[in-house]
């Protein structure tokens, strides 16, 4: 029983990272209708910038992280403005290929600038410091990611529900032509969406960086975040979050009770099964056509 509880707790802990990446992908998909495969690398660039500020300029954690998130916003805006928007008459597949190209470009730049070897980021919380409750442990860093994810989700929920910008984003997603007619500057909205999404992804990247950094560190969270987004429904923010936690728990239970070798495969089997049986996702209300 204790093992089961530990696996669920570990699954929830790791699910927070997937939830943040899934959220970031859904935010973009809701307005641009493109799965952004550069999501992980956008977070990667911001994380390495923070590491550089901490180690080379000896800045402290809070200003470094805030600057890195600011950089992430600018990076997201820039990529939408300078690259995605310039793509004329492309279909979804074309846009996906563009995001893959951006991903490879950023990965190459980060590898070239910082090297491919593993690195560490100075952080007040040790990567493996943990809380032990009875015999159940949760890492302090994981607890921080979990609480950050919950706070961010609440902020995003309120933002999209009650703020003018959030409403404008929803309007752009639902019908961009109608939104433009009523005075919404849809191009600007798209740019800001990418900025916000990049910032959400950067939070995930920054909080897993104290464990270990290397250019491929965001691949696994990005893919699992994508799996969570598909599972939850690519247009459902709460769906992506719930699915991410479910995914983390399923992965850990599968690894603990069935096969540790195929633990990581579970996420991709889930993508395939969801696409076969409920392509709109578990929590999506419509878009049955959009597969």
């Amino acid at each position: 029983m204790l093992d089961f509880i530990q696996m669920v707790v570990s699954g929830v802990a790791v699910g927070s990272t997937y939830a943040l990446m899934g959220l970031a992908m859904v935010i973009i998909y809701k307005t641009s209708e493109v799965p952004n495969f550069a999501q992980g690398e956008m977070a990667l660039a911001s994380s390495f910038l923070a590491m550089m500020l901490l180690t080379t300029l000896k800045m402290s954690v809070v200003p470094s992280f805030l600057l890195a998130i600011g950089f992430a916003v600018l990076l997201g805006c820039f990529l939408e403005f300078a690259i995605l928007r310039r793509a004329k008459n492309t279909n979804v597949l074309g846009m996906i290929v563009i995001t893959i190209g951006i991903e490879m470009m950023i990965l190459g730049i980060v590898s070239w600038k910082f090297g491919a070897e593993q690195k560490t980021m100075p952080f007040p919380i040790g990567p493996y410091d943990s809380y032990m409750i009875r015999d159940i442990f949760i890492g302090k860093l994981e607890a921080l990611i979990l609480s950050s994810a919950l706070v961010l989700m609440s902020v995003l929920f309120l933002f999209f529900r009650y703020s003018k910008l959030g409403l404008a984003m929803k309007a752009t997603q639902q019908n961009s032509i109608a939104a433009r007619i009523v005075g919404v500057r849809t191009n600007r909205i798209l740019m800001m969406t990418w900025g916000i999404s990049s910032a959400v992804g950067a939070v995930a990247g920054l909080l897993i960086s104290p464990v270990m950094m290397h250019p491929y560190m965001m691949w696994d969270p990005m893919l699992k975040g994508f799996a969570a987004a598909v599972m939850g429904g690519m247009t459902s923010l709460p769906g992506a979050v719930i699915a991410a936690y479910l995914l983390g728990i399923i992965e850990n239970l599968f690894g603990g009770y069935i096969s540790i070798e195929f633990k990581s495969v579970v996420a991709f089997v889930i993508i395939v099964m969801i696409l076969c049986f409920k392509p709109s996702g578990l929590f999506s209300r419509h878009y049955i056509k959009k597969v």
Binding site: D3, S130, Y216, D220, I260, K263, S264
Partner: protein
Amino acid sequence: MKKSLTVLFVSLALLFGFMPTLMAEEGVTDTEIHIGQWGPQTGPAAAWGAVARGTGDYFKWINDNGGINGRKIVYHMFDDGYNPAKTKAGVKELQEGTGIFAWVAGVGTSPGLAVKDYLMEKKVPWIGPSAGSMHWVSPPEKYLFAIYPLYFYEAKTLVKYAVETLKKKKIAIAYLNDEYGKNGLDGAVEALKAHGLELVAKVPVEAAEEDLKPHVMELKKAEADTVLLWTTVSHSVRIVGTSKAMGFAPQFMGSSTTSDFMFMNYISKGLYEGVICPTFGPVSTSDHPLIVKYKKEIFDKYASKEERWGQFYSAGITYAEPLIEGIKRAGKDLTREKFVTQMEGIKGFQSLGPEINFKPYDKNDIYSRQGTQSSFLIQALPNGETKTLTDWIKME
């Protein structure tokens, strides 16, 4: 007339095309010798990428000190990302496009296995694979000279030390789920059998896996008092760290691939203290005369400013030294067969690594092509320093 001219031109073109091959050994000209290596410059094994760069800087030093018998080394290194498919593609491209005389080092058991048969069929020498796999010498191949002590025996040596010296009884292993990891697993199983014991847990780890909590849970459930780590540097750090978080504190023992304690200490933020590993050369922080010399003459002069002087970089020199020795001995009239004969004559050769001894090829004797059998055990101290636990151990 037109037809005769066409036949003449085609014949001349074929003649010029084949002439270099007819006139000299592949990969050798009057002034150059082409040597190739693959290495993970990116990807999950990137920490081991320093091996190929160490070799490259060593060759630059050789060239600047007159080359070998009037020839310079032209070094071809490519990034295979520890992906066997990329290794095969890169080796084929260089071998068939440029023409490589011999291959040196090359990190990874699985990447190496992807090209071993190809190189052996083409009779291209391969010296010092940067992996201690049994596959290189079981059965031995005429053109493959192995230097890295075998992982199988490293695992046996560690288990023997754990059981006989540390009096441990419950030994488990976390191993990368590829040929490298399985070599360690097999060695551990055989050594434990000799002591009437079995592994209490064997936990496979996938190369792309980042969350190792389930793996550590399994090790903890088995109540292992010793855990062998036959994984990459980042997996080893994650297992050691996650174990600490879970309040699980066995004696960790890693393969030589994680024996760069300065680096392991840095990426583990000090958690690697106490881990025991075998190694087969002076540690990079020691005052061994060759370490001091190579650091000054090679690293300080040729390495890029982002490079780190460590175990993996110096290993790139260790694997290349016997290759250079063999080429020197073969003389000006360099052919692969002459080179192989000279390599077989290498006895008692000791430079940075352990003593190397080869013999004339015998398909029933692995030591005709496994040049080293010895390692010694070291333990990580605080701040990445090293404590030597044993003298050279002949591993068998």
